[in-house]
Structure formats: C-alpha cells, structure tokens
C-alpha cells in the first residue's frame, strides 16, 4: 500500500524535498501553514539568519496582540492549520501566552520556534496549559565554542537547560540545527547529542543563502565534499537508530543541479505575516521588485490570499520565461525561487540560477569558487545585530552587498 492510498502529505519536509508535494492549482489554493514572525528583535546574532538585513526598520512597529489574534482567526477561516510562531525571538514578546491560547481555541496545531532564550518554567507551563502543541528549539553545535561564535552570544549552557525543560513538560523534542562550514564537521556528534537529549525530530538545515546568510555566504558555505560526507553520516545514523528519531536533511540547493520547489509554490500553501503586518508568500519576498505586499493593518487575509496582485503574481506558470516555460521538469520545481533569481541575476521571472539549465548558472559556480578563495572567505562575518542592520541601511557595508540586485 502506498502513501497515496491513505492520503496526501503536505508541507512535510521529507516529501517536499523530493518535489512531490501538493500539485500546483491556480484556481483553488488554501493556506495550510501560517508563519507568524511576531518580532524581528532577537537576543541572538546568528550569522546565518534569513531575516532581512534591514530588519531594524521593523522593530518599532510590531502588530498588537489584538491584531495578531485577528490574523490568526482570518487565516484559520481560510484553512490554515499549522501555526508557526517565530521571529526574531518570539519570546521577547510577553503576549505569546495569549496567542497560544487563541491558537488552541481555533484548532491550530501550534509550534513555537525559539532559540530558547527567555523560556522559563513559568512560561513553558503557561504554554502547556494554553495548548501549545510543540516547541522547536534551535541548536548550533556540540561545542560551546562554535555555538557561542556563530550566534555571537553565550547561550550554549542555556540551550541544554531549555532542551531538558521541553522534555520534562512532555513536549516532543524538535531540534533545528542550521548547518554551515563551522559545524558540518561535527555531524555525527550533533546527531548523538540529539539522541542523548531524547529528540523526536531533528532538522539538519543546510544554510540557504538569504538575508544575513547571503551577506556571509563566502564565510559560511561548506564544500561539496563536506556536504556529501555529512549526508553519508546522516544516512548511516538513520539506518543504525531506526525510526525513533526522525531526521530531516535539508539539501543545500547551491550544490544541486535543479532548484528547490520553493515554498511548494508561490501562494500555494504558505502565508507569512511579519512583525509589522506585511503578508508574504515566502520569507524573503520583500526583496522582489514591483510588488506591493499587503499589510494586515489595511487588508483582510481573505483578500490577501485570494485576490491580491502580490499573491497571484507567481501562481501557476504563465509568468515563466525560457528555459523554464518549455521545460519538461517545470512542474517539479516551478522554476525555483523567485527571490534567489532576482537577488543573484536581477531577473525575478528568470530561472533560479541554481538550475544547471539557467543561462545565469555561472553566478552559483562563482559563489562556490569565492567561498573557497581564502582572500574572500577570510572577510569578517557580519553578525545579525541592530548596529550592523543600521550600518547596512545607511549603506556603510556596500562592498558586502554590491553583487546582489536587492538588499538581502
């Protein structure tokens, strides 16, 4: 019996990675996943953060509790089921408890995506009582040194304490580890740590290059050999320990021949409401030119999802150019990521340059080469913090962003 005989898996990472998620359907889509990026404020300063580098503009105009609750209600009415509460660090807001209670009332399966900083016994008990379904904790490495270096904070011991707290409150242990040059050599130890912590799920997310991670691309990118070895170790570990811990290995697109089916398609299943109320079909859509993204302060989510020009812009395939338009594989990847196409080539409708059939594929091979060039790769990491965000907005770090067609 096959999966299809039971039902259809959607927004499930292992499936999505094989590009056989929900089929594109222009006429009738529903948001299944609502990501609430409730704040861009964050106590960590991770070099690989995907948040916009100009986030500092959006730390003073966050939505109110009432506005979030309204957004949750509207999205649920449209069909949204999975709720991710993310940021920045969501726990910097003191109303997450209220949001969790409302999510439970509405029937969401809710997930707090956190660094763990700010999670206390009192708060986790309130989340449990309020009906939060799970907590996804970011971990960075097995060594204190790398954890503290890449996050630019002293958070190593705290994360271990938070992991134990999550477990003791009966939550599933869901770990997310972003993989980059500095921790890819520790894959086996990271998996062993996850096992020792009693993890039920672990996502090994190879860095994708958006926001801060794009600015730090040459400093973070591992080699192809390192990635192959990491994947080999992951598969070996998976075989050894069976199905007790589910392991997702998110393949890095720069080293693939074909692009990812980004977000399972534009406006297909995902909807993101950002800290200031902008509604986006993907995390970094604001980099795209000639699109005005709606804001929940002005427009209802029903209109946003069904009727807004922004959410309809890249639905279906009529916007595609060659070589995608006549490509036999276009349904598999829908031409890849619009943001990546624009950021790296200046053409938002072109093929994602990750594709070996893209006429701009050389920008990817060049990026890989640059990451191995000691002169370029030894430039300092620009950590995600308010000072650097202000500097980027002021144009003071132009040499690090000049190759991109929009501010990452």
């Amino acid at each position: 019996m096959t999966q299809a005989s039971l039902g259809q898996s959607v927004v499930q990472k292992e499936i999505q990675n094989q590009n056989n998620g929900v089929a594109a359907n222009v006429t009738r889509t529903q948001p299944l996943w609502l990501l609430a990026e409730v704040t861009y404020r964050c106590p960590l300063h991770c070099a690989f953060c995907y948040n916009p580098t100009d986030y500092d503009k959006h730390t003073q105009n966050e939505l109110s509790t009432e506005q979030w609750i309204q957004a949750l209600r509207d999205a649920r009415r449209l069909g949204a089921l999975q709720l991710g509460i993310s940021g920045g660090e969501p726990l910097l807001r003191d109303d997450i408890e209220d949001i969790v209670i409302e999510a439970k009332k509405l029937g969401y399966y809710s997930n707090l995506i956190t660094s763990g900083v700010g999670l206390t016994e009192k708060r986790i008990q309130a989340f449990k009582d309020g009906g939060l379904d799970h907590i996804q904790l970011s971990m960075h490495d097995i060594t204190e040194e790398i954890n503290n270096f890449i996050t630019n904070t002293k958070t190593f011991e705290l994360k271990k304490k938070v992991a134990a707290m999550i477990k003791s409150h009966g939550y599933p242990m869901v770990l997310n580890v972003v993989i980059h040059r500095y921790n890819i050599g520790h894959m086996r130890q990271i998996l062993e740590m996850a096992e020792a912590l009693g993890a039920d799920y672990i996502e090994l997310a190879n860095t994708q290059y958006y926001g801060w991670s794009l600015v730090n691309r040459s400093q973070l990118m591992p080699t192809k050999e390192q990635i192959d070895e990491a994947e080999r170790i992951t598969n070996e570990f998976r075989e050894k320990q069976g199905s007790k811990m589910k392991i997702f290995f998110v393949v890095p697109d720069y080293f693939s021949d074909r692009p990812k089916k980004c977000m399972n398609g534009w406006g297909e299943v995902f909807m993101i409401v950002t800290a200031n109320g902008d509604v986006l079909p993907c995390h970094s859509a604001r980099v795209l030119p000639n699109i005005e993204f709606p804001n929940v302060r002005e427009k209802g989510l029903d209109w946003v999802w069904n009727d807004s020009p922004a959410f309809n812009k890249y639905r279906g395939d009529s916007w595609m150019k060659e070589p995608c338009r006549s490509c036999s594989e276009k349904e598999k990847d829908l031409a890849g990521c619009r943001c990546q196409a624009f950021m790296l080539t200046g053409d938002a409708e072109g093929a994602d340059p990750v594709c070996s059939l893209s006429p701009n594929h050389h920008v990817i091979t060049q990026a890989i080469k640059d990451s191995r060039n000691p002169l370029i790769a030894s430039q300092p990491i620009i950590f995600r913090n308010d000072k650097n965000s202000k500097a980027i907005i002021a144009g003071e770090l132009n040499d690090r962003v000049k190759d991109f067609h929009a501010l990452p």
Binding site: L6, G7, Q8, S9, V10, L78, D200, S243
Partner: protein, 92 residues
C-alpha cells in the same frame, strides 16, 4: 508487525487527528507536517480512539459500508500503514 483483532490503538503522542471543514477531509497533524487523509482512511482513523478493538472497528465499518467488498483487508492495510508511519500507538 501483524495486527490482531483484539488490538486497541489510539492516535500517537504529539499527533492530532481532526476534521477540517475548509479541506473537507480528516487530517493528521504533527510536528513539521500534516497529512490530508482520503475519505477511507479518515473513516478508519476516526474510530481509532483508544477504546475500540480492531474487531469492533471492522464491525462498525462493515455495517456502515455494507456494499464494499473485502473491507476487512482494506482496513487492516490502512492500519498497518498508519502504524508504520507512527501515527498510531498500541495501548493494550
């Protein structure tokens, strides 16, 4: 593993099974994912409640869908797959 008529199952820990009006189907929700169930699987899992035995589930569904041939095999197949997917746990 083989399923026995006397087995009792419930939805696995950290998983939630619910009806969705907007999708017009039953769904299973769990960390990092969800599955929209087709109507047959939805009918079966709707009776998996930590109380009914497999035999009782089969009897109820046979009464409800008396015109479907070989229903018992289908039910066992669905339960096997749901167990393999770790959506269910045995409680007896």
């Amino acid at each position: 593993m083989s399923i026995q008529q006397t087995d009792i199952y419930s939805i696995a820990l950290h998983h939630r099974f619910q009806w969705e009006d907007a999708q017009n189907c039953y769904v299973i929700l769990f960390p990092e994912g969800m599955v929209k169930l087709n109507s047959g699987a939805g009918e079966v899992l709707n009776l998996v409640d930590g109380q009914r035995t497999v035999a009782e589930i089969v009897t109820e569904l046979k009464a409800k869908f008396s015109d479907v041939p070989d229903l018992e095999n289908d039910i066992f197949g669905m339960l096997e797959l749901a167990i393999e997917k770790a959506w269910l746990r045995q409680i007896n």
